[in-house]
Amino acid sequence: MAGSGVHATVAVLERHLTLYRRLFWASAMSSFLLPVLFLVSIGLGVGGYVGDLGGVSYLQWIVPGVMASTAFQMAVGETTYPVLGDFKWTRGYHAMRATPVRIGDMVAGQVLVMVVRVLPQAVVFLLVVLLFGGLRSWWSVVTPLVCAAVVVASALPVMGFSARIDNDGYFALLFRFVMIPMTLFAGVFFPVAQLPVVAQWLAWVSPLWHGVELCRAATLGVAPPWPVWAHVACLVAWTVAGGWFAMRGFARRLAV
């Protein structure tokens, strides 16, 4: 009967999937249609002015950026209000706390459900982009996995943040001063090499930039700016540090 270990993590994942089923269409629209609109407007519109970038069309160049940043935005969106809500309003975590579900199960289950969501989204996006002629390499097939890694690396630290605040006003600060700058300086729409070195630093610490560059290397079939292992190591570092930060935040908030 003990629901410890994998079983409890799966149970948490199922709870979030059951909740997600109600919002499936609304959320599928925003996480799939929106990036396609981005591609059409910026990829074709801006691309018409910009022309080619390093031998590839602008559309092909931003496809991986849009893909990774969509994953990043989902991770942030799903770990701000929903996490605070489960502490403050529905008290879903308190309900779990009274069962054999452990802190690690709560965190892992919720991150896994985002992985389960991002994988099919990324695959469908790839297929649509393929019709636009947006892919140049078979390596493109690894991009859903990179998106999953971006989701995990960015969701965990934000969960830790949401577990520590009591007022949703802090989310406005997170969006304005962290999420938007990170998206702007992550090589989604232009190479970060264009930026002054100080701004490049911003990109280097951002989990999104590493995800964008890995995706871009894959869809264009070129080598990424840093060795692959270095990009992966940065994502892993965010995952480990973020996981620790989230677990501690949850444990503190639930220990009264």
Binding site: M1, G3, R15, A98, T99, V101, A255
Partner: protein
């Protein structure tokens, strides 16, 4: 050899910084018992419950639940407890039925077993017709019953109920008490906190009275009333205020003047009333009633339970 009590606390303490919520209590709860923590708000009841439900670590003292250590074996203990918290934490975006199946999965029940249990329990708490509905439109009493059904989903050995009927109307309370009484008959050990003396009298085989983080009395409702009160109480109100209390000296066994009324503790209430009239006193209202736990609490602490 007698079975070890399901819950044993010795010198249990819970401090939050400088504030001592639970100040060294000794408690033991036997299997099949309905055990209550009675006391006003802030007496330390809920802090005690959170330690028993293994979500809050004791600051000092000893606590064993089902023969295990709540800090080390929290997961194993929680798997055998059912918790009905003071604040509702139902999943408002899930249906009534899904609330139970989702929760059952936390305990490791298979999906089929979870659905079977959910159906059974909704029958038990008389919510089967609301299974597919949302949680939000349910009344307070229905939400409480759903929370109790949820607490039963893992077939727990101990069910912990923190203020189970606070905020409910009288009819909803009676329905809830009746369901809890059914649980008790099935042999489930109930541990509850309440600041309602009628609830404690209705449900508890044995209880402790808490005040300021300490236990001030322990026993069955009947024992406590016999020990700390008289069988009957006469409530007298005087138009001119409580000055009449002086003239009541010697009526009954004890006289307790309150701001709005005077309580006369007596073995025979009617005889006490006759004596009041014989002394020429004319109270504006007279009520003879059975002694309750409220009187016990008043006697022990000098204060009423519900402010």
């Amino acid at each position: 050899m007698a079975e070890e009590p399901l819950i044993v606390a010795r010198g249990l303490v819970k401090r939050f910084g400088e504030f001592t919520a639970v100040d060294g209590i000794d408690v033991s709860v036997e299997r099949g018992e309905a055990f209550g923590f009675l006391g006003p708000n802030g007496a330390g009841k809920s802090s005690t419950m959170r330690m028993i439900s293994c979500v809050s670590a004791p600051t000092a003292g000893e606590l064993r639940i089902l023969g295990m250590d709540p800090v080390r074996d929290g997961v194993a203990i929680r798997g055998r407890l059912g918790v009905c918290p003071q604040l509702d934490n139902l999943d408002t975006d899930l249906s009534v039925f899904e609330n139970l199946t989702t929760y059952a999965r936390y305990f490791g029940l298979s999906r089929a077993e979870a659905r079977r249990r959910a159906g059974e329990l909704l029958e038990f708490v008389q919510l089967a017709d609301r299974a597919k509905g949302k949680v939000e439109p349910l009344s307070g009493g229905m939400k409480r019953r759903l929370t109790i059904a949820r607490a039963m989903v893992n077939d727990p050995e101990i069910v912990l109920l923190d203020e189970p009927t606070t905020g409910l109307d009288p009819q909803a309370r009676h329905l809830l008490w009746e369901r809890l009484y059914q649980l008790k008959r099935r042999g489930v050990t109930l541990v509850l906190t309440t600041h309602y003396m009628d609830e404690a009298e209705q449900l508890c085989d044995r209880l402790v009275v808490m005040d300021g983080g300490r236990i001030v009395a322990e026993g069955s409702p009947r024992e406590l009333i016999a020990r700390y009160s008289t069988p009957e109480v006469v409530e007298l109100r005087f138009a001119g205020g409580a000055d009449a209390a002086v003239k009541l000296d010697g009526v009954g066994e004890r006289v307790d003047p309150l701001p709005d009324r005077v309580l006369v503790y007596a073995r025979d209430g009617d005889a006490a009333v006759a004596e009041v009239h014989r002394r020429g006193l004319a109270p504006s209202s007279v009520l003879v009633r059975r002694s309750t736990l409220e009187d016990v609490f008043l006697h022990l602490t000098g204060r009423t339970l519900v402010d």
